[in-house]
């Protein structure tokens, strides 16, 4: 009797719980497609899940871009973002067998997904779509060379992101990814001295810092500022400076650097380029040129300093965007390329075969045909214009000669999140951007209607508008239209073909060795930069090498050298093919 009462109480409790839950969700129901009364004529509304590793937003695509996609395909994109939700989002969904309807994943993930049957083979579908068809050769090439073990027949599973349509051996941007950049007014302020080498750079930086110890608003100026946020296998800041003298760190390696001639150099080489760059920072620190907060500050602090022109030496091509504006350029204020005479920059070419990630369709996708239609539009001239430049007649207009030009609204539509007119979808321009956040066809590709690149920075109209007193003075001094032009003319830069493929997978043993050695290399690098004297600098280096050997460093070097040699071969092939 009493037991029945207990059971009754439990049932009551459980029922009430379920009632509450059902009021809120329909008691355990998953998302179901409901037929909308107001659907477009041809297609039923469809919501697809898009797992994009480039996205930094998770939620339904809204705003003007969402509006376009809905109007054209009656499609709603539910964006899932590992950047927001963590890598576990990818791991758990992969483990459960359904990544999403459309995915953007990187090469190593693609390998695993093909092997576990998570992505669809779309080889036979591409020919049905006029825009995608144009790039089928690049698609086939990429997939065929991707990983013969996992994809022996070279079926097309992945469509590489950011493909350019130029060639594998050209480089179309106006400035190398990493090269010396200085604030022009401070450089001219100390007499625009000719800089012959890295020591010369130190002298110039010192005179700049001595003459201008603070910015006009009283903040401390430092010649060199470093940060730890992006340290990967090595100290990131030192790694990118190595590019200036011809050495880069290829993807999927962590222990060596490679130059254009095919020379493989372990990072631990005593007269190697990595040590040289650490020494450069060490010398700079001894001269008081390095920001003492470097080791404890993060990127946010650094970007504030860059915006306020508190930093002397920059090297990433996009860092100029923090301070430079057209207004400032008129007053000859801005950060620009300043060549060092003995530079030998290595630069990867245009990503003709993509840049390391791919679009793929999930094996369990709800409507692959509709997704392909969407992707086809994604690479069509009309779609590309939306993705790279915005809305015609709002962000840009077409001139009499057919070329495009930014409107006044267009100049600041993104940064100021200006309101988009209701007929185009309404909402803020920045808010309504494509949340998938990556392109299939890259913006260094030609728009057939204009003959110029899709990327607005390379439109003639933009280049003309950006000509200021600053750029004119620069062009006069260096007799070149931009940094890339200068370095090419003076044979100070080597373009290596961009190879997009997987060079192999790491065994768990190698993975562990990499992660252990990476920490040691990064931490020691920082300590070396801030060492009190050369004795300490050298000792840290030798101790690091000994410790690395104890962790199986030699195995990493052997494996990475193999991979570099394979890369060199592929590059030679690509160069031969391009001719």
């Amino acid at each position: 009797m009493k037991i029945r009462r207990v059971l009754k109480k439990s049932v009551v409790l459980a029922t009430s719980l379920c009632l509450v839950a059902s009021m809120l969700t329909g008691c355990g129901g998953k998302d179901t497609k409901k037929d909308n009364a107001a659907s477009t004529a041809v297609k039923e509304p469809l919501k697809i899940e898009v797992l994009s590793k480039a996205a930094n937003f998770q939620g339904e695509q809204a705003g003007w871009f969402g509006d376009i996609v809905k109007k054209k395909f009656n499609l709603t994109l539910n964006i899932l973002s590992p950047q927001v939700s963590g890598d576990s989002l990818y791991k758990t969904r992969a483990a459960s067998g359904n990544l999403g309807d459309l995915v953007v994943i990187d090469n190593s993930q693609l390998k695993d997904c093909i092997a576990s049957g998570l992505v669809l083979d779309i080889s036979k579908m591409i020919d049905n779509y006029p825009n995608l068809k144009k790039y089928n050769e690049q698609f086939k090439y990429f997939n065929a060379n991707f990983d013969k073990k996992v994809n022996p027949d070279g079926l097309v599973y992945g469509l590489p992101t950011n493909m350019s349509d130029t060639s594998p051996t050209s480089y179309s941007q106006s400035i190398p990814y990493s090269s010396p950049i200085l604030p022009w007014n401070l450089y001219t302020g100390v007499g625009s001295p000719k800089i012959d080498n890295m020591d010369g750079l130190l002298t110039t930086l010192k005179s700049m810092q001595d003459k201008y110890p603070t910015t006009p608003d009283g903040k401390k100026f430092t010649a060199i500022t470093l940060w730890k946020d992006w340290d990967g296998n090595t100290m990131e800041n030192a790694r990118w400076l190595s590019n200036w003298y011809g050495y880069e760190s290829p993807d999927e390696t962590s222990s060596v650097m490679l130059n254009a001639e095919g020379n493989v150099q372990p990072i631990t080489n005593d007269d190697g380029i990595y040590r040289k760059m650490l020494k450069f920072f060490f010398d700079a620190n001894k001269m008081g040129l390095v920001d003492p907060d470097s080791a404890s500050q993060d990127w946010n602090t650094v970007s504030a300093k860059l915006t306020n022109n508190q930093v002397g030496l920059l090297w990433y091509s996009w860092e100029t965007g923090f301070y430079n504006t057209i207004e400032k350029g008129k007053k000859k204020l801005g950060t620009v390329s300043v060549p060092i005479s003995d530079l030998n920059i290595i630069q990867k070419g245009d990503p003709y075969y993509g840049d390391g990630s791919v679009f793929a369709i999930g094996a369990k996708a709800k409507d692959p045909k509709r997704i392909m239609e969407f992707l086809d539009w994604y690479v069509s001239p009309e779609g590309m214009r939306y993705l790279t430049s915005g809305i015609e007649n709002f962000n840009f207009t077409r001139q009499a000669d057919g070329k495009l030009k930014y409107t006044d609204i267009g100049q600041t539509a993104f940064t100021d999140n200006l309101k988009v007119p209701a007929e185009y979808g309404g909402g803020g321009f920045k808010d309504g951007q494509n949340a998938i956040n990556t392109l299939l066809l890259g913006d260094i590709s030609k728009d057939p209607s204009t003959g110029e690149f899709y990327n607005p920075n390379y439109w003639n109209s933009t280049i003309e508008a950006n000509k200021t007193a600053l750029t004119n003075e620069w062009t006069e001094k260096y007799h070149a239209k931009d940094a890339e032009d200068y370095y090419t003319k003076n044979k100070m830069i080597k373009i290596v073909p961009a190879i997009n493929t997987s060079l192999g997978s790491d065994s768990s043993d190698i993975k562990t060795k990499r992660s252990q050695s990476k920490q040691l290399v990064v931490d020691t690098s920082w300590k070396m930069v801030f060492a009190k004297n050369e004795g300490e600098f050298d000792k840290l280096w030798t101790d690091m090498k000994t410790a690395l050997d104890g962790q199986g460093w030699k195995d990493l070097v052997t494996l990475d050298t193999e991979r570099c040699n394979a890369l060199v071969k592929l590059r030679a092939e690509a160069t031969a093919n391009a001719k």
Binding site: L17, A21, T25, G59, T92, S303, K348, Q433, N455
Partner: protein, 311 residues
């Protein structure tokens, strides 16, 4: 009583009076200092969220706000989906807290029953779950198999049985004299009746404690959303705000791509500083908690008041 004894007693009392006063003064001062170091950082955060963003980024705002504006808060309020997410968060906080407090109280009570079948075993069974976790993948697969993905219940069911709260309640109940329950049983009251009518009012302080802990935990949690929920209608407030903060800072870190050239990168550099966003979000999340906190506080700060009930 002889004069001698009286005066020494008086002396003792005077000494202890001075002692007491000294302790009081020290007490006020020490707490005052600690309170200051707790409130200043919060004050700092608050004035930075209403001051001009660039001044804030430079670290210029230390004691007084400058260039007062409320744009940071307006931006937060304008986040799409914020209000729906707020409703979800309020829903889960209210329902989740109610269920957790109820379950903790009930289980704490039951585990204090000496004569429950295999009490020790089941108590240990419950407690040790605090010390292991199976890992994110089996957790996700289990939830999925039970249809708890994209389901509001996923926010509530897993936290109903919380070992820590059960321990708190049980320890508190053990200070209640056992005669109370025996007396009730003699009077013919069932165990449930005793629990609801007699015990619950007595253990209000610990219930309030559990309630505030559970409520804050529900309000602040979003790890569960990260994996289990992909339907944007179920996103909690913390998730939306976390994403808002993350967007600003990850755009900055997205720059670390070799093949830049896309327009977004150049323009990223002019965005809001993530720290000011983080600060604004902190205030937005904490403000509601501070508003309802006094409601719970009155159950346990007023000091010894419940003595009479025990008599």
């Amino acid at each position: 009583m002889s004069m001698h004894v009286v005066s020494s007693k008086k002396k003792k009392k005077m000494k202890s009076d001075i002692n007491d006063k000294l302790i009081s003064v020290l007490n006020y001062i020490i707490f005052g200092v600690f309170t200051l170091i707790c409130i200043y950082p919060f004050y700092y955060i608050l004035i930075n969220t209403i001051s001009a963003n660039d001044l804030s980024a430079h670290g210029d705002i230390i004691f007084m706000p400058k260039g007062i504006h409320f744009q940071n808060y307006l931006d937060v309020v304008k986040i799409p989906g914020l209000w729906d997410a707020a409703k979800i968060s309020i829903g889960r906080t209210v329902i989740g807290t109610f269920l957790t407090v109820g379950a903790s109280a009930f289980l704490g009570f039951m585990f204090a029953q000496q004569d429950m079948w295999l009490r020790k075993f089941w108590y240990r069974y419950t407690i040790i779950t605090m010390y292991f976790s199976a890992g994110i993948i089996p957790w996700y697969l289990t939830m999925r198999n039970m249809n708890l993905t994209n389901n509001f219940l996923a926010y509530i069911l897993p936290t109903v049985v919380s070992p820590f709260f059960i321990i708190l309640v049980k320890t508190f109940i053990e200070s209640v004299p056992r005669e109370l329950q025996e007396a009730a049983e003699i009077d013919g009251a069932g165990i449930i009746t005793f629990f609801i009518k007699v015990l619950l009012p007595i253990i209000k302080p610990i219930l309030a404690t559990v309630a505030i802990f559970a409520a804050v935990s529900q309000w602040n949690s979003f790890q569960d959303t990260l994996l289990l929920v992909t339907d944007s209608k179920l996103y909690s407030l913390q998730f939306i705000l976390f994403q808002y903060v993350n967007q600003a800072s990850s755009l900055s870190s997205m720059i670390n791509l070799q093949n830049s050239g896309s327009t977004a990168l150049q323009t990223i550099t002019k965005m809001q500083t993530p720290t000011s966003i983080r600060m604004t979000v902190t205030i937005v999340v904490v403000a509601p908690i501070m508003l309802i906190y006094p409601f719970f506080q009155r159950f346990f700060v007023d000091g010894i008041m419940i003595g009479a009930v025990k008599g």
